[in-house]
Amino acid sequence: MSRLDKYLRTEVFPSPFCAGCGHGILMGAILRAIDELSASGRLDFSKMVFVSGIGCGAWIPSPHFKGDTLHTLHGRPIAYATGVKLARPELKVVVISGDGDLAAIGGNHLIHAARRNLPITTICANNNIYGMTGGQVSPTSPENSLTETTPLGNKEKPFDLCQLVKACGGEYAARWTVFHIKPLIRSIARALTIEGFSFLDVVSPCVTQFGRRNDLPTIYDFFLAIKEKTLSYEKAKGMKEEEKRGKIIIGEYD
């Protein structure tokens, strides 16, 4: 029925995500970008491999995508993807996983893949928290946010993952929220056609674990809040650290 059914194992739906989980929106965005590229013959879904780690975000491709999926260990999808890509360079390898997976335990593989400019696309389903394990702080949790392991608010600064990837030499890095759906799809499509390492940091609301603790109980609350929090990369360039604090910088990094 849906336009995306051809890419889906429809039998496993509805997805296991909570009602209003942003990861579902991202799932759609990824498939739409693929659909668009396929339509113009720039991509062949059957020659794609989707690699993910452990976490809610890692469930986006596995088992939902009706293609080759490799659901690996927590933190390791990029390392597995490295093996897949090097052994079969003709395959398009896409890593889809959470912020905890890619930036906490998996941070080393991320920076090394970026340094090598490994020709894979990595999509971080970034909900600023550990969703699956019950809402602990992640390295992208905003300062002062409440989580299960920061009962008094997060005192650490979050990563700017796009900046990190660029600093390592990654070819392409961009950030969008799932609500910036059209630029997001466009950006994913661009990332998928890049020759080197391409990275997308996609802010994706976790209503259950992040929202519940931070006064954002529904996806619509995020929708309203995030609009105010975003700042375009171009604008942010000229701004001071202080001004950018707590803001979500969206756009393609250079």
Binding site: P63, A79, T82, G83, V84
Partner: protein, 390 residues
């Protein structure tokens, strides 16, 4: 494959031949180190992917692969660490390559989670552990045999694994090939448990004209994670819509993490595919065991000292014999029992503080089992064994 030592009866013929292939190296006698022989064995077995991280005393394997793989159209990558290395190997294996990594104790410890994943996803790959003296960083350049039990039990959860113990440069070549064959045949990571002595020892080695190779079944359409004991394993990019996961899964790879039946079925099958094929897998060698009164049990470099000790003891009229497991895991339990019927005493020699002896005690619990252990970062020498016996 190997020239059997005279005086030895061995059961090496149990290999499952499938494909006969000409060697890559010109067939003749060479003088090589164990590590180089291992790398060449891998190439001969069809290994075309190596991901690794340097560590003494295994690094020469990696360095040789770095040089040789591009020559044969393979891929070499030095990863950021050992976790990355085993991960990349598993990824490459699903992409259709025969993949290998080599390391030593510290790196092996780091690889355990990944090895567990390979076990759960039934991914063929070969891991070489060139053992050095531990624990921790220990004596990095000196030999040990302290990772024997780790190879069996090191990853969390339940599984059965295959581990081989080469005792010569020749076997570094031969058993590396066997490791790939077993790995492909049973869809299981296979561990080559070498040690610093065998790795750095240089010896004459015969590269044979032909070797026997086994390649994984790649059939599409059948469930890749059931119902056969060893299901077929299609490759990425070939429209098999593979679902590979380290979570508990059904025969199609669909995650089923709340279903007791699925879990039981999977874990039991993972164990049984090794247990039920044990007879096929197990290999060992015996030396003067027919009438022995004292039977030595040893493996790897230590077994060579033991064999020599036996030959000297025999000269003195002492009825000594040697049982050498070649597959450390699964351990040749039944064979050991059978072969040691005449023996009254059992001496287990190992470069650790007692690991295989635990297994032996269980199997031969009515015999007097004692051990010669050494954790000095030196091989156990023949004269030390002789002294212990006398």
């Amino acid at each position: 494959m190997r020239t059997p030592l005279s005086g030895f009866s061995d059961n090496c013929g149990r290999e499952m031949p499938e494909r006969i292939k000409r060697s890559i190296l010109e067939p003749k006698r060479y003088f090589l180190s164990g590590n180089i022989a291992c790398a060449e064995g891998a190439l001969a077995a069809g290994c075309r992917f190596y991901a690794g991280y340097p560590i003494t005393p295994s690094s020469e394997i990696m360095e040789h692969m770095a040089k040789r793989l591009p020559e044969v159209g393979g891929v070499f990558i030095q990863m950021e660490d050992e976790i990355g290395s085993i991960s990349a190997c598993i990824g490459a294996s699903w992409a259709g390559a025969k993949a290998m990594t080599a390391t030593s104790g510290p790196g092996f410890s780091l690889m355990l989670e990944g090895i567990g994943y390979a076990l759960m996803t039934e991914t063929p790959c070969v891991i070489v552990d060139v053992q050095r003296q531990g624990p921790a960083t220990g004596q990095a350049t000196r030999p040990g045999q302290g990772d024997i039990m780790q190879a069996r039990w090191g990853a969390h959860g339940d599984y059965r694994i295959i581990a081989l113990s080469p005792w010569s440069v020749q076997e570094m070549y031969d058993l590396t090939i066997s490791a790939f064959n077993l790995s492909e045949k049973y869809r299981v990571p296979v561990i080559l448990l070498s040690d610093e002595v065998v790795a750095h020892l240089k010896e004459s080695i015969l590269i044979p004209e032909e070797i026997k190779l086994f390649d994984r079944k790649k059939d599409k359409g059948l469930p890749p994670f059931g119902n056969d004991l060893v299901p077929p394993m299609p490759t990425f990019g070939e429209e098999a819509n593979l679902l590979v996961t380290g979570s508990t899964h059904n025969e199609w790879g669909i995650r089923k993490v709340q279903d007791p039946d699925v879990s039981e079925k999977l874990v039991v099958r993972l164990c049984e595919k090794i247990e039920k094929n044990k007879k096929e897998i197990v290999r060992f060698e015996t030396f003067f065991t027919d009438d022995c009164e004292i039977c030595l049990i040893s493996f790897g470099i230590t077994a060579r000292s033991a064999a020599y000790a036996v030959s000297l003891l025999r000269q003195e009229g002492i009825k000594a014999g040697l049982f050498r497991p070649i597959t450390i895991w699964p351990f040749p339990e039944e064979d050991l029992k059978e072969i040691t019927t005449s023996a009254k005493k059992i001496l287990v020699c190992e470069m650790n503080r007692g690991q295989i002896i635990e297994e032996v005690k269980k199997i031969l619990c009515n015999k007097e089992v004692f051990g010669l252990f050494k954790t000095r970062g030196e091989a156990i020498y023949p004269w030390e064994i002789i002294e212990k016996i006398k």
